[in-house]
Symmetry: C2
Subunit: 359 residues, 2 copies
């Protein structure tokens, strides 16, 4: 350990921070991370947004950019926006040091050897995008890529509800649904870097067709995408005046956020939609828990923020659908990282590589 510490001191990543008397009377030198030594960029491409963060070595967020994606935006424009966000953070006036490396997450499979994004089911036309190569060429820094749900899980383990936990799962509820699995304190990537596809576990055999090609996947009934789809149908069918008002009659523009707001205001139709989504999320999550026996299940992502109704429905369903002896041993928690979890996790991924390099 001391060799690694010497290296970190020499590179200026650690700085002396005074002394402390230990209980044995020996004086111990305290060390602190030198936040000003290096900055990192984390970029999160979600189904409905791009978020970029600039952080220092202590994971303090120095700058942040948010860009909304409407479904159907062409892949070229999405990539251009990601580049623009990365460029704006790289040149940010709020930076405290040079950029050491960049982390980027995309929703879906990553090729772990090339860092390319193989496919994002929820972004039409997005396939075989050499994310790592494109950004390394443009920004001259090492780029690390990861799936967004796993990136969010990394942020939970470093900064969130997952601190100090060894066996837990993080459920990423957004436009799509993904999961990060930790076993023995480590992220489980799976044999080909594709673990955590709980959104494509089947909760209604023979149900609605999914973008993945199978039928009855969790994402077809409970994702942000599915809730928005059902809400639009409901508005057209005149089932909710409140949702109709919130979207000013433009049914197609309704989002899962609108449904959360309407349900919070007591709208029965919005409540039904979240009841159904929570039922199926709790079922799929209960099945995952019965297999994995986690000490905690952490809920996060865009669908969870200020959506108390959904969280309550998930909690109820989880209790009915997890094997009793396993349910009693787990805690259900809600992330406190908000919508930036995946971007923070991407920056952590980039940061982690710095420590791997010197240790």
């Amino acid at each position: 350990v001391s060799v690694a510490v010497d290296d970190l001191l020499e590179e200026g990543l650690l700085t002396p921070a005074g002394f402390k008397e230990s209980s044995a009377g020996r004086r111990q030198e305290l060390l602190a991370l030198n936040g000003s030594r290096g900055n990192f960029i984390g970029i999160d491409l979600g189904g409905t947004h791009i978020i970029g963060v600039l952080t220092d070595l202590t994971a303090r967020v120095l700058d942040r950019v948010f860009f909304e994606i409407r479904p159907g935006l062409p892949v070229d424009i999405i990539l251009d926006q990601m580049r623009a966000i990365c460029g704006s953070l790289a040149g940010s006036a709020k930076a405290t040091a040079g950029i050491l490396s960049i982390g980027i997450c995309v929703p879906g499979f990553i090729n772990p050897s090339t860092g390319a994004s193989i496919r994002a089911e929820n972004i039409p036309g997005w396939s075989d995008i050499p994310v790592k190569a494109v950004f390394e060429k443009e920004f001259g820094r090492t780029v690390f890529t990861e799936d967004c749900s796993r990136a969010f899980g990394i942020a939970e383990r470093w900064y969130g509800q997952g601190r100090g936990k060894k066996d837990f799962v993080f459920l990423d509820l957004g436009y799509g649904i993904g999961m990060a699995i930790f076993t023995g304190g480590r992220l489980h990537f799976g044999s080909s870097h594709k673990s955590g596809e709980i959104g494509h576990t089947i909760v209604e055999a023979g149900g609605r067709e999914c973008v993945c090609g199978n039928r009855g996947c969790l994402e077809t009934v409970a994702s942000g995408k599915a809730i928005a789809r059902d809400a639009a149908e409901g508005i057209k069918g005149g089932r909710s005046e409140l949702l109709s008002g919130l979207t000013q009659g433009d049914a197609g523009s309704v989002t899962a956020q609108d449904v959360a707001i309407a349900a919070g205001m007591g709208d029965p139709y919005a409540g039904e939609l979240l009841e159904r989504a929570g039922f199926f999320i709790g079922l799929a999550l209960g099945n995952a828990a019965s297999i994995l026996n986690p000490s905690a299940v952490i809920l996060g992502g865009g669908l969870v923020g200020s959506n108390k109704v959904l969280v309550e429905r998930i909690a109820g369903s989880l209790g009915r659908h997890t094997m009793g002896g396993i349910y009693r041993d787990l805690t259900l928690q809600v992330s406190n990282l908000g919508i930036d979890g995946s971007a923070l996790g991407s920056a952590a991924l980039a940061m982690n590589a710095v420590f791997d390099r010197v240790s």
Copy 2:
């Protein structure tokens, strides 16, 4: 490593086995496990049988005892039989050395600190049995206890289809259904030693009530117990002359083995039962695979042996119910350890402890 090797040589567990010239011209000493140095007992308490094996350090089976359990056998008699089997192996004329330690597996939750069996859902009345304490007192050897499906998984990892694999699952199909999960080459126990309860994942929401208290668990529709229950109903309803003949009219005595035999002979009703069981097993297994991204799914246990029809049905359903990109990266394999897998795994557990002790 060399310190551990010296210890093993000193204790006689390793013996010199000649020399070999290495490519660099250096003479390397070869070592072999001294099979005659210690023997181990492995005992498997299943839902329908008790199997005991006596092995040496090279995992060769020196002696074996099989005892059939009819459902409803009192707990005291089951424990007495386990003791009798252990005693018979401990005094076996085929032993090549003294017993070093004993491994025992039971179906269900184990308390990892006390080695007690908390509960076996499929053995009525079996709860809070201090298995480790009872056998240590009677036989004067250290006893290790484990869940039977995890014990079978250990045997697969050491001797079976799991050799050399890092991320894989073993599905134990018998009177009940359990699973052993390996991540990064290690068995995943879960946060409270309860992982792998795939038999209690829910495949039919709101379905038939399960012994665990929930509804629609995989075990209610696809376990050996469920198949036998459905077969008995079918015989009573006159749906299969073949099954009726095989059981000589005693519908209650029909087993899942009988159904496998009848289906293999082309009996349509038996075929329907296995079609249905295979459908749900493939669904639950596909869901586990979509979450875990294993390189292999290994099928084993009493329900799989000489049951080609069921294996084919599982394979078909697994293909339809696993996310495509994950299904393409996995191999479906059938165990070649037969019905003794859990007993062999229990002996391996006992053996493993010897190496942990000296290394």
